[in-house]
Amino acid sequence: MSAARMLPGLLRHFFFTLGLNLRNPQALVYGYLVPVFFLLAFGSVFRSDTPLLLHQMGQLLTISILGGACFGLPTALVAERERGVWRRYRLLPVPTGSLIANTLAVRLVLVALAALLQIVLARVIYGTPLPMHPAQAGLAFLFVAGAFLGLGLLIAALADDVPAVQALGQCLFLPMIMIGGVGVPLAVLPVWAQRIAGFMPGRYAVEVLQRSFSNPDGLRGTGFSLIALVVIGGAAACIGVKRFRWDIRENASQFPRAWITLALLSWVAVGLAALLTGRLKPVLAERAPYETITEAQIESITYDDLPGDGEFVTPLAPPFKDSGDRAPVDELAAKLRTWAPGQLDDPGQSIRNLVCVAAVADVIRDPREGKVARAVYDHLRANFSQDQLRRAFAWIVLYPEDGEVLNNLPELGLRRHPPPVTVRSRSALYARKFLGRLLHKITD
């Protein structure tokens, strides 16, 4: 049958399916009300941001699309299959593929409506700005929705019944929400979770949507993320269409495992490509904690009760007079210059890590402990700006429990690893000594 002959039927099927969905209370709750709950929840959690929710719109829209595509689409398809609706469609004089495409188009419209509702409500309730690049936001939406609809189609092919759709959907939804950078922001996640997120489409979905919303460069530079979405969604969609089951009697056990493996391989391929091309560097919070330290906080720090530089706790050698004086820590100083934890994208955490080196040497009573501390101080002054050092030292002093602590440094020749809590407290003391010197409140 020609496309022109099929058009009236397909158009009617499109509006018929759209109407059924819009009249289905359960579909409305999942498709529209749940995303609104997320919007309100995000509005509460990020209430101190300005403008409110601007930097969370990528996540919110991804949640809406994910819900509509990974739950809404397969739930509707499988429920219809269970009722024999797709068997009846099979009797029509049109290819079943055209009806599947139609169903996907309907879902795309439903998801687009949910996304628009999010944007409008965010604007009305929180004054969130509209997308900086509307056309690119539309393009990003198509990529994200396409990828997740492909996954939804695969779930529909895999699931025998509606409860199985819920189970499979949760298997995708929850990891992406919790550690995939969709619900919990990437910057808040530990580094291992951020790496895992690189293997999931949610991370790339959030990135492209968010950039079209708030980044002046828009989608420029997001080629990899767009390709990742196409690869993961495309593989799932191809397998979902190929293995589409219009009859309830074909059960999932007849689904060849090779197809499932192929779908998972697309995730692995994307993750590995991201890893090998250095795209999975740890993502930082938009404002690192040390940056929030104010001048008043720095001024409030006192230096009267510090242990002496030659005492048992936190010894600090005088400045090196010559190379012979420095010789015991030459090797360590050389290692510090290439030591990865001292060169993170986050200067605050890098400085804290370097201070930990002095603290560990002190706690484990390394014979060179005072010189190690001096070498660390010299390294810090040579590699960080005055402002970074002031704020980071103050942050370590005022918030000793913040950030990561390193207590196991065999690569620097410090073989024993003391308890983290002790390293934190010694780090705070060293930071105060370093800050005092930096501000000329303590003289060497």
Binding site: R12, N24, R83, G84, R88, L91, L92, P93
Partner: protein, 347 residues
């Protein structure tokens, strides 16, 4: 057109009074479309599910204006056969031609002239009959009038009601209406009356015979012997995936080797010798307070029996005549009970 039965008459098929339906229902002419050429040809159809051969070398035709019944117990391969014809399953061998079109190679084109009512069908709960018919109609070149179908199948009052609110009979009528939405040449009905109450079953039988009157080829699968006898012009008895007999119901029964049976009970007990003296009796078995006779000539046996009872001033308390049935034919052909499935879960 001079048709005999239809949903509009409300008459039982047993009361065979010809009725001109046009006079009664001017809308019906659209439902009863033009007489169409021969519908279905199946040749050497074979379908396996793994090691189980559900259907093997099945061949039959369904002519225009004919109701052809595929009769067999559960698991005999009826549904598999219908699903192969409808393209819901891919045959492993054989050909299926619908109106001259190869239904396997050109499924979509073949479906243009096929209407079907499947087993245990449902629609979305929120769909209305009118919507369902309108949606189906939009895919065909020559759809029937939706209003006429709704009226013809007594669904007008429920045209805009949700599918979930329809009764079982109304749902079945809706699926029959859907089967006719494209004015099909071939109508395939899979267990059309299963689970229906007697009244709804009668109404459906009238509708199906109405379709035949319109010249359509109708292929019905059923495991209901009485229904097959009442409804079908020809019957193919299916057993373990093969047609073991194919003829008109009357011919099938006439060809059976079973004799009619007469159950008789009298006030004064009859002896075996008295029974054997009756003309036509070939066998007799005692039954509680009476006898079961097998006879080659029911009329002569009964007449002679009554005469003798009168002569002996004996009183006839019970007299039943059992003609051979399709069940007898089936048991004779297959050597097993009707209710025993041929193969588990074969369809």
């Amino acid at each position: 057109m001079h048709l005999t039965w239809g949903p509009w008459t409300g008459k039982h098929p047993g009361s065979r009074v010809p009725i001109d339906i046009r006079a009664l229902n001017p809308f019906w002419h659209e439902v009863m479309a033009d007489t169409l050429p021969a519908g279905l040809r199946v040749r050497e159809l074979t379908k396996c599910y793994g090691p189980v051969m559900a259907v093997r070398d099945l061949s039959f035709d369904v002519a225009a204006g004919e109701i052809f019944g595929l009769l067999g117990p559960n698991g005999a391969g009826k549904t598999t056969t219908l699903e192969c014809i409808l393209g819901l399953r891919c045959p492993d061998a054989g050909t299926i031609t619908i109106g001259g079109i190869d239904a396997v190679l050109d499924h979509e084109q073949a479906m243009e002239s096929v209407g079907a009512q499947l087993q245990a069908e449902m629609l979305q709960d929120r769909t209305t009959p009118r919507q369902a018919l309108a949606l189906a109609a939009s895919f065909y070149r020559n759809p029937a009038s939706i209003d006429n179908l709704l009226r013809g199948f007594a669904l007008m009052a429920k045209a805009d009601a949700r599918f979930a609110s329809l009764s079982g009979g109304q749902k079945r009528r809706l699926f029959l209406a859907l089967a006719l939405i494209n004015n099909p040449q071939l109508v395939v009905l899979d267990e059309p009356t299963a689970g229906l109450d007697p009244q709804s079953r009668r109404e459906l039988h009238q509708m199906i015979t109405g379709m035949r009157s319109a010249g359509r080829s109708i292929l019905v699968s059923t495991h209901n012997l009485e229904e097959a006898h009442q409804l079908c012009d020809r019957i193919g008895i299916l057993n373990e995936g093969q047609i073991v007999a194919l003829a008109r119901p009357g011919e099938l029964i006439a060809g059976a080797s079973h004799h009619p049976r007469i159950v008789v009970r009298t006030a004064k007990p009859l002896t075996a010798a008295q029974i054997r003296l009756l003309p036509g009796v070939v066998n007799c078995q005692p039954r509680a307070e009476g006898w079961v006779l097998e006879t080659t000539d029911v009329n002569r046996t009964v007449v002679e029996l009554v005469k003798r009872l009168e002569a002996e001033e004996n009183t006839l308390l019970e007299l039943q005549i059992h003609r051979p049935s399709l069940e007898d034919v089936f048991i004779e052909l297959t050597g097993r009970d009707w209710s025993t499935p041929a193969v588990e879960d074969m369809g």
